[in-house]
Symmetry: C2
């Protein structure tokens, strides 16, 4: 009961060789059914578990995926769940490391995991990351790597992410259709792709509907709630204040909502508001807030599938890009035109 049983123990007890035991356990062809049964039942009895390290040492494979994420908020932890699901099924184990939005931490994590602990990586970069040498080093080692969610053009790797342009477009067009005329956007940090793409979608929608683009209504600020709160206060104290706000994250929408309420304005009458991510809490606020929902779980699954594909047939897949569609969930905060059915 103390030392874990090995293949040797089984061989010794059954008076056969370790080779035979090994083959029997793996259902190889050239072992008699009789010995197979003997081996299997004994291994069951001894609670035999193969030593992964011995295997990895030999086969240079760990069957483990390193997942690096900037944090574990609602969206990312859901994506990780998706990764988990697929990986588990394919016989992989997942190691999750959060970089905590810190560039330094991201480097340490990748380095550690790449020290022969994992077969490859599924990465979402931190907001601080502007240099990608640590990830390129991994690619140089021929380790498979998939980038998801927070992607970057500076890395040649297969990629999974939301159609952020479409998300921005849907939200903005919806606001236009609801009769809002001066639509502001709280965009995120300028160096993040997701931020810029959502902004692009916003611009496209305005152009399509021939709404004049006012640079004063485009605010780049941090993802932080506080910043959004302050930015909204400033927006609302403009001479020609906006009559709708689109924030590219839900946390920012909360900040905006607070500022709107403090100003004594009502949603959706005075101001329309649409967020991004559709955190579950959003349906419960008052007013409930419209938000662009992304298939986070699915994105995680696709990333993992891509990774496993990359693992198996190791051809170059760096040009593969999987883009998933968002879906606008319309709630009270932006529903100015009365309709029969309100999405709760």
């Amino acid at each position: 009961m103390n030392k874990p049983a090995t293949i040797k123990d089984i061989a010794r007890i059954l008076k056969i060789s370790t080779s035979t035991v090994s083959r029997a356990l793996r259902d190889a062809s050239d072992v008699s059914a009789e010995t197979k049964n003997a081996v299997k039942s004994l291994s069951e009895e001894l609670n035999y578990q193969p030593n992964k390290f011995a295997l990895s040492l030999q086969q240079k494979q760990t069957h483990t995926i390193g997942v690096i994420v900037p944090n574990l908020d609602y969206v990312l932890s859901t994506m990780v769940k998706g990764i988990d699901e697929v990986a588990l099924e394919a016989g992989y184990t997942v190691m999750v490391c959060q970089s905590n939005e810190s560039f330094g931490r991201e480097i340490v994590n990748t380095k550690r995991l790449s020290e022969s602990l994992v077969d490859g990586f599924i990465v979402s970069v931190s907001s601080e990351t502007k240099v990608f040498d640590h990830l390129k080093k991994i690619q140089a080692k021929k380790m498979p790597m998939v980038v998801f969610d927070r992607v970057t053009p500076f890395l040649e790797a297969p990629t999974v992410h939301l159609d952020n342009k479409d998300g921005g477009f849907q939200a903005t067009e919806h606001l236009i259709e609801q009769g809002y005329k001066r639509i502001a956007i709280l965009a995120g940090p300028k160096n993040l792709e997701i931020s810029n793409h959502r902004l692009e979608g916003y611009l496209t929608a305005l152009k399509k509907h021939k709404v004049k683009i006012d640079p004063d209504l485009i605010i780049n600020c941090d993802f932080n709630q506080e910043y959004a709160y302050i930015a909204t206060q400033e927006l609302l104290s403009m001479k020609k204040r906006p009559d709708a706000i689109f924030t590219i994250s839900d946390r920012m929408a909360i900040g905006a909502m607070l500022a709107i309420k403090e100003k004594g304005l009502s949603m959706p009458e005075d101001i329309g508001l649409v967020g991004f991510n559709n955190e579950p809490m959003f349906s419960l606020l008052q007013p409930s807030i419209s938000s662009v929902d992304q298939p986070s779980f699915e994105i995680g699954k696709v990333a993992a599938k891509l990774f496993i594909e990359m693992m198996h047939n190791n051809e170059d897949m760096s040009s593969v890009v999987e883009i998933l569609k968002p879906k606008l969930i319309i709630r009270e905060s932006s529903q100015r035109l009365k309709k029969n059915k309100l999405t709760k």
Copy 2:
């Protein structure tokens, strides 16, 4: 550049033995400074990284901690950050697996990780888990295991958790002091310790202040927001409705808040509300909601420290219990008596 360098390569190039290389790299005493330098500079150049598997195979140690959590919500992901921090510093890598509140998933995860992938576990059990054989099996293997947050009396292991009784007490006493007379509690599932302890604290506070205990005001429901919403609706339609509600999680507080607003009641005047966990969003709602803050990061750190201590001097520590104190954060939702300074 293709194959990773091994000590053999270094030995071959330097024309010395692998043993010497090994010792040089570990700064052993009986290697001349000269060869040490030669070895170190060459290993640098070749980008040598020791193969963890060869090490683990020999020393039966993985320097990896398996962390099993039911989910990665705000509280738990903060705790995991704490674990990360301490583990990294002590030279350990962390593998996080979320059981997704599923008993079956928890079993699969523990089994996988225990297959010689990790040295031991830091666990928070799922809400479904009522049988603990899978964890006892791990203990039988003499693997160190620390239980945190969601603890259970059915497991003899060192334990780290919040003083949940005190949390319940603080919240309830605060409501009493604010002049609320009929204080309801939305407690969680009956089989969870954290739920029962917070309820106990509630009862203790009532007794201390000689407030009559009304069983109708004690509701056991799921952690779910929806349930809290419904439960609150029922509470508010009682003949003698409560004038304050204490929910043992923040998600539940949101549900309660929604029901209160729908009923046209105001906080804190008509109804006082206190939540639990102090999720960051809470300070931004309107009214801002009072909540019991727990030192999640610290709890994670303590759990990891305990684990490492257990690793090093492997004596029996199953009786160790670390209890950390919560701190009530008072905000608008329960602040009926006007004071000069409001905590924002």
